[in-house]
Amino acid sequence: MAVRASKELHDGDVVFVGIGLPNLACNLARATHAPDLVLIYESGAVGAVPDRLPVSIGDPALVTDSLGVASMADIFQFYLQGGRIQVGFLGGAQVDRYGNINSTVIGPYDKPKVRLPGSGGACEIAIHAERVIVVAPLSARSFPAAVDFVTSPGHAGKYGTRKQLGLPGGGPQRIVTDVGVLEPSPDDGELELVGIYPSATVDEVRSKVGWPLRVRSDLEKYPPPTAEELRLLREVLDPTHLYI
């Protein structure tokens, strides 16, 4: 997933980074095809070049040698709402057929089955980033037809489509999972399978989503990670195996 997610980043992109796999993916991209990626963390670090794998989104290593440090008011108002962020990374406990993401609650809000951490910056990242990359392992439980709670809006839902709502950002453009990659249909925003890893089958992917999954006719077959990519991840970027 980290290798696939890294390939979704273009050199020079300004990226709003989350902790965990997104952070690994960004640093892998920086070490390979995108040395000029600008990493921005919601904590305020701009142009971060962390010298160790940050454990938290506010790690002191994000500040040392960064381009700048901004207040969170500036981060959300000028950087994100101001339309300066090309890529936002999001995860979540549930992702549905239109790319709506739930990181708030499983079950009813007032009587939750599982209480999750909540939005953090996810809601506004989903609204404002030019494109959102979602990184989440695929399973029927995590990819239902409709999420229990919309924390971060996808392409359509009970409040309307992105266009009807006038959302400035492009929403979830790529959903990178552990078996393949989903992408919204240009027609109705429903997520479809666009690419698959060598170890997975289409039937397997279909069994792990809660709606009848459409498959693109030009389905991509991704090559396995190269030895160099694996070496970078395992020996350089996450040597203590915090995330992989």
Partner: protein, 310 residues
């Protein structure tokens, strides 16, 4: 003209015990801010020791600091935007209070980070609300009736709004301040400035108290002016297990260990007894963990000064 720093100022320096006794009251709306960085655990522990209750506690990320206040029964309500143990998992005391009302029931009011930042911005600017382009398509406004909308009088565009947040008291931890409370912060400074300006009372806790001349030599680094500060507390290591850039690193092991400690209510209570109720102050807390200072002390990484001349 008076030479710089010639004004005679009354020192606002007091002990943490006195600051909390005088400025934090039962039923207050309390903010201890700091995003991962500079979270003043020392103040939270003193609030617990003085057994404050019925507090409304507000923070973007409740973090361990509010998990502890909640476990101690100090809080009646939590206002927040992301409630977890960063990189570890759940906040167990918080979940027990919401799900089972233990040790006391806890009401919640939930926003996103941008919403919380905007609430502090409105509070600091003394505006009744703050407009933001947010929440369309999200279920958050459906569960929080305080997230509303306004129509722009110029463009007719509909914008989300959140109400001002004006805490009774905001507690900020900074690397250094002078005795009047002119505080300098470097590294991440989150929403501290807005949270301080929004508050009726401000407690400034610092790693070091320095001469005013030190502050005046580098005025761009001053985030909060002393004239909005009510009390200054010198509390080295007061942010542990959070961190202070240039002073000590985040105690990530503590955050991981907290998952175990807080999972069991009885174990958490005995932790509070041992590390909060049964210690007199921060220095005594630090003495209980020999080797901690050596393990977390920051490596030197100084920046060159700039020319402020004219």
């Amino acid at each position: 003209m008076k030479p710089a720093g010639s004004k005679v100022v009354t020192s606002k320096v007091v002990t943490m015990k006195d600051a909390v006794a005088r400025l934090v009251r039962d039923g207050d709306v309390v903010v201890i801010e700091g995003f991962t960085h500079l979270i003043c655990f020392a103040a939270a522990h003193e609030i617990i020791r003085q057994r404050r209750k019925d507090l409304t506690i507000c923070r973007l990320t409740p973090d361990l600091v509010y998990d502890q206040l909640i476990a101690a029964g100090c809080a009646r309500k939590l206002v927040f935007s992301w409630a977890g143990n960063p990189g570890v998992g759940s906040l167990h005391a918080l979940r027990r209070a919401i799900e089972k009302g233990v040790p006391v029931p806890l009401e919640i009011e939930e926003y996103s980070h941008f919403g919380m930042v905007a609430r502090f911005s409105a509070g600091a600017a003394k505006l009744p609300f703050w407009p933001l382009s947010d929440y369309r398509g999200s279920d958050l406004p459906a569960v929080n009736p305080l997230i509303r909308t306004v129509r722009c009088p110029y463009t007719d565009v509909e914008l989300a709004t959140v109400p001002a947040l004006n805490p009774d008291v905001t507690i900020i931890h900074a690397q250094r301040a002078d005795a009047e409370g002119n505080a300098q912060i470097w590294g991440l400074y989150g929403v501290q400035k807005e949270a301080a300006f929004a508050a009726k009372r401000v407690i400034m806790v610092v790693e070091e108290i320095v001469e005013s001349a030190v502050v005046r030599a580098d005025p761009n680094r001053t985030l909060i002016p002393g004239f909005i500060v009510d009390a200054v507390v010198c509390e080295p290591w007061g942010a542990h297990p959070s961190y202070a850039q240039g002073y000590y690193d985040r105690d990530n092991d503590f955050y991981v260990a907290w998952d175990e400690v807080s999972r069991d209510e009885a174990r958490l209570r005995s932790w509070l007894d041992e590390f909060v109720h049964d210690v007199a102050d921060r220095a005594a807390y630090m003495d209980k963990m020999p080797g901690l200072r050596e393990r977390l002390k920051a490596k030197p990484r100084f920046c060159e000064g700039v020319n402020y001349g004219f």
